[in-house]
Amino acid sequence: MAIHLNLLHEEIREQRQRQRDPLKIGMMVLIVFGAILFGYYMFNAYRTLEIKAKLSAVQRQWVKVEPNVTAAQKRSAELTDIIKTTKVLEDYIEDRFFWAPFLEKVSRCVAPNTQLTNIEGGIEGNTQEGTRRVTLLIEGVAAGREPRAAAEDLRQMLVEQLGQSYRDVKIEFKTLEDLDTLINVGGTNTAMAHYILTVNFNPKAPVKPAATPPTDRGSKKR
């Protein structure tokens, strides 16, 4: 076996030590690591710039659209308000109680031997709550051989006439009294009665009864 003599072992050891210098290796590692981190940073920075460009584009688009959108929103709110207000106003208009047809019906009920001296009343309650009612006092005098009967005829006539157009018609005598004075009707002196009627009804149209279906008896008759 051949013998190897290393006459330069000190120099070789120093060279190896220089190569294994941890600071040098550490610096190299740091530089490599730093380069990786820098690369990653640049990659992120590029992505961020890309996003920034997209954001700018979107924002430019929004700036163009925004006035139109704001105007559209404002107009929508305005239209919604108009629709709601119109609906409420229409409801009020539709739910109004018309006095003229009522006065016409009252005039139809007054026979020649009765006279109305006072009609006074108004609308009470609330439409939304369904409590709206028309309440009136009708005052007058009736003449005839039986003036109380004439007043009762007027009351019944009013019930019949108003019942055709309104719901829950209630007409009652508040006062019905004979008067001492006589009145000349058609050349004859007749007695008089003074009355006050309380009239109360729901101004809604009455509910019509459902039509009854034809029965078999009708067809058998034929």
């Binding site: 990653y40 920034k52 139109n68 107009r75 207000t85 009020y92």
Partner: protein, 189 residues
Amino acid sequence: MKALGLNKDQIKKIGLSSMGLVFLVYVYFTFFLGPLNRSRNNMLATMEDVQNKLSSSKSEMAKAVTLENQAKAATTRFAALKALNPEGAPIAWFPPRIKLFFANEQIDKAVARLENSVPFKEPELADWMRYNWMINIPQADYSTVGKAIADLENAEPLLTITKLAIRAIPEQGQFQAVDIVATNFIPKK
């Protein structure tokens, strides 16, 4: 460390290198990557927000167009109702208008007085006021009053008669005195 064959000096250098690495990582994340990521996340959030606004804006505008078409009848009706009342204070124009109206119905001396005005409770009518008027007709016959009231109710859709009193005039049997309490809806000026 001894097992790796490192001397004291080398251990010191390794420690120094490690500290350098930690410092580098700290500086990198705190002063470079962290702010960059925060900025990017903020931009992404802003972009998402703006994109949401943009997409909702399309539906908003479409909704406005649809609503505009649907509300044509309502807007026309609303404008017509508003046009029923002239400009200016109602106390200035309503009494003369009523006087003229009844004069055209062959009823003279009709006088309208303002009782009060109250705002509506309904939020839809926040821009409207309820004006209560007392209309006195000292002398008229029943049929003329009835016809006049019918015409008034038809001509003034925003007017409602809430109280009515018709009294016979003792000395003149064919004539009656009439008191009308009417409510009129008038937009706020």
